[in-house]
């Protein structure tokens, strides 16, 4: 049996009491203890953070960006162009422009209407500085998004191709022509618009959808203007109510989706006659395709395409330089010699075979036509739809 001295017993019970008291305190006042831990944890977290940052730095050092010696060109050396021209046309011109001016050109290409509608949709808030290409009727229709510019050398341009307000600057002139398959047709059989209405060509005529192709629209209106009997009705575009149905009937309701398909269809013999632009026809002929060109007796229309500067252009000066370049002698020269387009310069009107002076022109009121475009297209699609229905019925 143990025996304890009184002091020992006291000591033990005191120790127990102390433990109990401590326990109680730690339950009642946990804050100071917790705070201590928190501080420690913060320290640890900080340490961890430091280490990981250090490690990241270490791991990312030695990474170099490629081409750091190269600097992207400065803003004043840039130009962004929306173009509806084919790459084979815009590329050499843009390239030469870059070489001569040191301006880097970015090009976004697409259909005329597609690009113009994008501009309209964004209320002109696009990055592009310049719209290059497209018939002037289309540019007129969207003129609110452009700012006028009187290009250097504009006085050299044939007045018939100039815009009254200089909202666009003409680039090239594009006469509408008739083409035919040289193998299947002799040149005597086709010399005028009137001949196209000959019953033997019914359903054998290639024309693009005027709603899709600006050149087809010009072609259709030229056709209508040339063959309409009441020549006085210049007041109204395609005013003769009979003429559009007549043409539709002669086409037998057939249209091509893309203007590029027209010479193709004539060359491979699926059609006998085609309505297209001189440029398109010459391009095909240069490839050795067996098509011939007719400048109709009644005359034809020569509508220019153009370039226009967008409102809010970031590189306004460079866009202006481009327009200046586009009507320069050098550029117009190469246009006529290499790209089968007609130069718009007065001095060059006599060049070419036949020259622009020799080609008989129909009256073609561009502002009025631009204004009436939608009405004519609605009528046209109505008549074409009618013929399709008749065909189905029969």
């Amino acid at each position: 049996m143990f025996s304890f001295r009184k002091e020992e017993v006291n000591e033990i019970s005191n120790a127990t009491r102390a433990i109990l008291v401590k326990n109680k305190r730690s339950q009642a006042l946990p804050m100071p203890l917790v705070k201590n831990k928190e501080e420690k944890r913060k320290d640890i977290l900080l340490l961890f953070l430091c280490i990981s940052v250090f490690a990241l730095l270490f791991s990312s050092c030695g990474r170099r960006t490629e081409g750091e010696v190269l600097k992207a060109p400065a803003e004043d050396k840039r130009l962004l162009i929306y173009t509806s021209h084919k790459e084979e046309l815009w590329k050499p011109i843009v390239k030469e422009f870059e070489e001569r001016t040191g301006i880097w050109v970015e090009v976004v290409s697409g259909g005329t209407n597609l690009l113009l509608e994008e501009i309209a949709e964004k209320k002109g808030e696009v990055d592009a500085d310049l719209f290059f290409g497209g018939g002037v009727e289309s540019l007129n229709a969207f003129s609110e998004y452009f700012i006028p510019y009187e290009a250097k050398g504009i006085e050299e341009v044939d007045p018939q191709f100039r815009s009254a307000s200089d909202v666009w600057t003409p680039f090239s002139a594009l006469p509408v022509v008739l083409i035919y398959n040289e193998k299947l047709l002799s040149p005597e059989e086709l010399s005028s618009w009137e001949d196209v209405l000959n019953p033997k060509f019914k359903g054998k005529i290639a024309m693009a959808n005027p709603a899709h192709s600006a050149s087809a629209f010009t072609g259709l209106l030229s056709f209508a203007e040339a063959v309409q009997e009441d020549t006085d009705s210049t007041e109204d575009i395609a005013g003769d109510k009979e003429i559009l149905p007549r043409i539709a009937k002669q086409l037998d309701g057939k249209e091509y989706a893309d203007s590029g398909e027209v010479p193709e269809a004539v060359a491979d013999g699926s059609e006998l006659v085609g309505i297209t632009l001189e440029e398109t026809a010459l391009k095909y002929m240069a490839k050795g395709k067996n098509i011939g060109i007719i400048y109709p007796k009644e005359g034809t229309t020569v509508v220019p395409d153009a370039g226009a500067i967008l409102k809010g252009a970031k590189h306004l000066e460079n866009a202006q330089k481009f327009l200046d370049f586009s009507i320069s002698k050098d550029c117009q020269d190469i246009l006529q010699k290499r790209f089968h387009r007609r130069a718009v310069l007065k001095s060059m009107a006599g060049e070419g075979e036949p020259s622009l002076l020799e080609i008989k022109k129909l009256s073609y009121d561009i502002p009025k036509i631009s204004a009436e475009r939608n009405r004519v297209l609605t009528d046209w699609s109505f008549y074409m739809g009618l013929i399709e229905e008749e065909e189905k019925a029969s």
């Binding site: 143990f2 025996s3 033990i12 127990t16 960006t65 081409g67 190269l70 060109p73 880097w104």
Partner: protein
């Protein structure tokens, strides 16, 4: 902040989680650090390797292109300065073979891959190293001839794309006029065209098999690409990235592109290399990292819960044992093991054992103490009661009675008879007697006192009939009366004994008309510090009453002059009222 707070709470609420967190930190930090360092070192070395390879092959290609350029321009310069050629171009003389011989001799060794053409000042092709001479002309106000017209040194031009596929790159030098000093005059142009074959020969074997090489013009338009597997839109993608000022990157993101300009030729060389760390490699690394983290976390969790179980279970046991102790259960014991916690458990066991032992000893002590006290009390009483040797006295008194009768001294006989009665009463084993009996003995005592010579003392009794049978401790009245005689009246006076009932208590008053008592004794009786002998009777009676009935009973001494206006002393004895029959 809320998230962090709850995160912190999650870890602080449990010892196990805290351990888990600590283990996690301890295992993950070094693991992650070493992995990161390892990865970055690996990446760095791969990167360096790829960079070096790229720089070397670009240098090689650049040098070979410049070398080719130098030999071509040398030939062009020599041609342009040839007097025969100038003459042939300006004077319209038919010196075809001579010029051709010159042309062929100066371009020896280059003609396999480079075509040399000589144009007149209108841009019409006149002589050529090509196998057949087509009729061709170049505009002099456009492109390369336009620039050659203005420049004294060779001019360079990249192809415009699709339509001149075979002539990717051209170098032109103008031929000056024939006359001396006629620097402004131009008689024609010499033009060297590098075809695809030329680039293929120049570049072949100078860059890695997996790599690709691109040649761009000064405005980043395509000139040549060696690898036919390169996507066609790559050129425009790179140009867009460059114009935006971004690092060169294609849509796949698996390649790096390194650019070297050859400024004076207006060319850019771009080498395409696979990234030093491919996507697969990156994925593998990430996977490894992820798995390591997962493994570390799992291990930490396991270790944490194991350690906490090993630590926490004994602590929990200790905790509940302590709770038991606070609830006064001292018999709890903990299992003892070898480690520190085991030691703690051992200490706890010793402690509770000691506590229990202590408690036991304390209880034992108390009991003994109580018992001892009781025994002491009884002994005291007996000792008080046995201060006379009763048997001897009784026998002596009997002998005295008979001697008094024989010798005809009746007073002696009577005194001896009374004294023997008193003595017999005094030594009877009964502790409690009736008041009547006590008074009878008191009467005997008074008779003895009368015979002794205290005949002038008058004794009055006032005891109600209903108190005759009240029980009192034996021999309590006699000492009180004796005290009254010895310390009060001495030889002549009156003594009165009254008994009364009040609040279930018996009050007995002994009054005398003597000289009175000392002032300091008045009040509840308390034994004097010294000199017990004077009032031994009072002390004994008080002690007996207190021992029998408790501390609230006993004697009280009063000054009769204060109470009743008569000189003398009153001794009041108070005890609980008990009747005879209860004892019966």
């Amino acid at each position: 902040m809320k998230g962090i707070a709850s995160f912190r709470r999650y870890f602080q609420n449990s010892f196990r989680r805290r351990l888990f967190g600590a283990f996690l930190l301890c295992s993950l930090i070094p693991l992650l650090l070493s992995l990161l360092v390892l990865f970055s070192a690996f990446r760095g070395s791969r990167k360096e390797q790829v960079d070096k390879e790229g720089r070397e092959s670009l240098k090689l290609i650049r040098e070979s292109i410049i070398e080719a350029r130098d030999s071509i321009t040398l030939a062009l310069q020599e041609l342009s300065e040839s007097v025969e050629l100038k003459r042939a171009l300006t004077e319209e003389r038919k010196e075809r073979t001579e010029v051709n011989r010159l042309l062929f001799s100066l371009t020896e060794g280059l003609r396999d891959t480079v075509r040399f053409d000589i144009y007149d000042k209108e841009g019409n092709l006149r002589y050529s190293t090509a196998p057949y001479l087509e009729s061709r002309s170049l505009p002099t106000d456009w492109g390369i001839l336009q620039r050659a017209t203005r420049a004294d040194s060779p001019v360079y031009e990249s192809s415009e794309g699709s339509d001149s596929r075979s002539r990717l790159f051209q170098i032109a030098v103008r031929i000056k006029g024939q006359r001396e000093g006629g620097d402004k005059e131009i008689s024609g142009y010499v033009l060297a065209s590098l075809e695809e074959e030329a680039f293929r020969t120049l570049l072949s074997g100078k860059y890695g098999v997996q790599n690709g090489i691109l040649l761009l013009s000064s405005y980043w338009r395509p000139v040549y690409s060696e690898n036919i597997l390169l996507p066609t839109e790559l050129f425009s993608t790179l140009r867009e990235e460059f114009l935006r000022g971004n690092p060169l990157e294609d849509s796949t993101g698996e390649f790096i592109y390194t650019v070297t300009p050859i400024e004076d030729m207006g060319l850019y060389l771009i080498l395409r290399q696979e990234k030093p760390i491919s996507k697969n490699m990156n994925f593998l690394m990430l996977l490894l990292l992820f798995l390591s983290i997962l493994f570390g976390a799992a291990l930490s969790f396991l270790m944490g819960s194991m350690m906490s179980r090993r630590l926490f279970t004994p602590i929990e046991r200790l905790r509940s044992a302590m709770r038991e102790v606070t609830l006064d259960h001292l018999d709890v014991r903990l299992r003892e093991s070898e480690d520190e916690l085991g030691e703690l458990a051992g200490r706890f066991n010793r402690m509770t054992e000691a506590l229990a032992e202590n408690r036991r000893a304390l209880l034992l002590n108390q009991e003994t103490l109580l018992k001892n006290q009781k025994e002491l009390n009884e002994a005291q009483i007996r000792m008080l009661q046995a201060q006379l040797n009763p048997h001897f006295l009784g026998n002596t008194l009997d002998a005295m009675k008979w001697m008094g009768k024989i010798h005809q001294i009746p007073e002696v006989a009577e005194m001896a008879t009374d004294l023997a009665d008193i003595l017999r009463f005094a030594i009877s084993p009964k502790e409690f007697v009736s008041l009547e009996m006590e008074i009878e003995i008191l009467k005997r005592y008074m008779e003895i006192q009368k015979i002794r010579g205290f005949s002038k003392i008058e004794f009055h009794l006032t005891v109600p009939e209903n108190l005759q049978n009240a029980m009192v401790p034996r021999m309590v009245l006699q000492p009180l009366v004796e005290n009254a005689i010895l310390h009060g009246i001495l030889s002549e006076g009156e003594i009165e004994l009254c008994a009364a009932e009040q609040d279930n208590e018996l009050r007995i008053l002994v009054k005398d008309n003597g000289k009175g008592i000392r002032k300091e004794l008045i009040g509840p009786y308390s034994p004097p510090k010294e000199d017990l002998g004077h009032h031994l009777g009072l002390y004994n009676v008080d002690t007996i009453l207190k021992k029998h009935y408790g501390e609230r009973y006993g004697l009280t001494i009063l000054d009769r002059k204060e109470e009743e206006g008569v000189c003398g002393t009153i001794v009041l004895a108070v005890l609980p009222l008990q009747r005879e029959r209860l004892e019966g």
